[in-house]
Symmetry: C2
Subunit: 300 residues, 2 copies
Amino acid sequence: MSLIALGTVALDHVKTPSGEKKDILGGSVAHFAMSARLFTKVHLVAVVGYDFPKKHIDHLKQKGIDLTSLIVAKDKTFRWRGEYKSGDLNTAVTLETVLGVLMSYEPRVAEHQKDLPNVFLANFDPDVQMKLLSLMRKPKLIGLDSMNLWIEHKRPSLLKLMKQVDLFVANDAEARSLTGENNLIKAAKQLRKFGPKLVVVKKGEHGVLFYSDRLKFSFPAYPVEEVIDPTGAGDTFAGGLMGYLSKVGKTDERSLRQALIYATTLASFNVEGFGMAKTEKLTLPAVHKRMKEFINFISC
Amino acid sequence: MSLIALGTVALDHVKTPSGEKKDILGGSVAHFAMSARLFTKVHLVAVVGYDFPKKHIDHLKQKGIDLTSLIVAKDKTFRWRGEYKSGDLNTAVTLETVLGVLMSYEPRVAEHQKDLPNVFLANFDPDVQMKLLSLMRKPKLIGLDSMNLWIEHKRPSLLKLMKQVDLFVANDAEARSLTGENNLIKAAKQLRKFGPKLVVVKKGEHGVLFYSDRLKFSFPAYPVEEVIDPTGAGDTFAGGLMGYLSKVGKTDERSLRQALIYATTLASFNVEGFGMAKTEKLTLPAVHKRMKEFINFISC
């Protein structure tokens, strides 16, 4: 079943110990869509500026991503410049952000998109995420991601939004800061109390923890030896998770475990190249090959 | 098959966010033996002082641990005082150590113990570890643990010793500092090059990574909600690992995976109480019950 996803589309300038890339396609929903497209039709809801390169638009279209609700506005495209230092590839240091078109963005979707059953709110201002949600007529599965900026500055909006979603995805630092709990199991439990029935805590190189009333489980990460650029790994992970759940149309134990294995595998590809250099080339057979290896890696 | 293990026996004074305990039984080989005894006969090789409480000796004996080679020397027992701060229960801050009997200790073992097939060198000065190894006549499986102190101050001795062991156990910080590699897969690969065929990297709350020429795999940790005192978790882990491998007498893939599941499960009990309060009460049925739960937690 199709999936509609809101988030940022950006031009990234990234520096890591492996090199530096300017003006590459980035943003939460761009990474998300490039991953989720492997499983289902993805409708993207976002805004770019007049300076956004046509090649990126063509590229997203060519990957089968529906751009009906991608607005081209009269301001500059959102830009992010960041750096990862050797020795701590888990943490991005933001050097500059140019908000541009994000400052006055109101999400809009086409009439026929309002009935789509699966909704993902990739990292964005929670008030904007809420606006998209209010446009949807009968969402069946709603997923949400956020970041420390919103946890610190828009906590009430985020908590209000959390009451309305089914699935919440957070990294370990976000889970801790949102709940005030250092122990991740306790943090996940607390996130559950905030509303979402399904809680996913991403631990970067240490894997993932899943928590619901009935189920809890955990997987390590796929063992990547050469991390080139972690930007978008969390969004790529979320894309695999929501993409697979949308495809199968259910959230039973088997589907959830499978979705998290897909998510982990996709994220492992993401970090092996700058931006989405690796994920944009992916096909399902390549994903399945690595998944098989990963399942062997974690089997007991 | 029986197991002989060298290491420290200590009187610990531990403070954690959950409380404070003085003069409790601790030390690398005491924790190790309390865990490994669940699988096989453990012969302990260590030294204590004239002030070592008889109740601790009786307790170890009562648990079936062979104390033939526990020397009672004419100095004070080794003491360690440490604290774990709220928010970082992975890291002990050492406040005081009284070396006492450790300063002049030379390991000795009884004649009949020299033919024991399984040897574990729990954390200790690598020169002392080497001395025990030189006493053993036909070791079949040799395991080794160390710590940052020796990595920094006795690196040549440690590297020499690593050439002679089969199994090396390190935590993530030790693996990184010994190899200079930040990426743990690369660090594990490098540790393998130092000699040991089987490399185990413990990642605390994030689980474990196993590496050999032919095999690599990883498990998350058991999800403990209330960590009371992590002291000895690594030794307890090693006790489960070596204890099980000694019991089955082989290191094939199945046995290694099973041994690491046991090790993880045992370590999870250890952190739920001060010192060895939890592990000393353990029986195999209780371990198996939690293992079943753990296997469900990590199954894909």
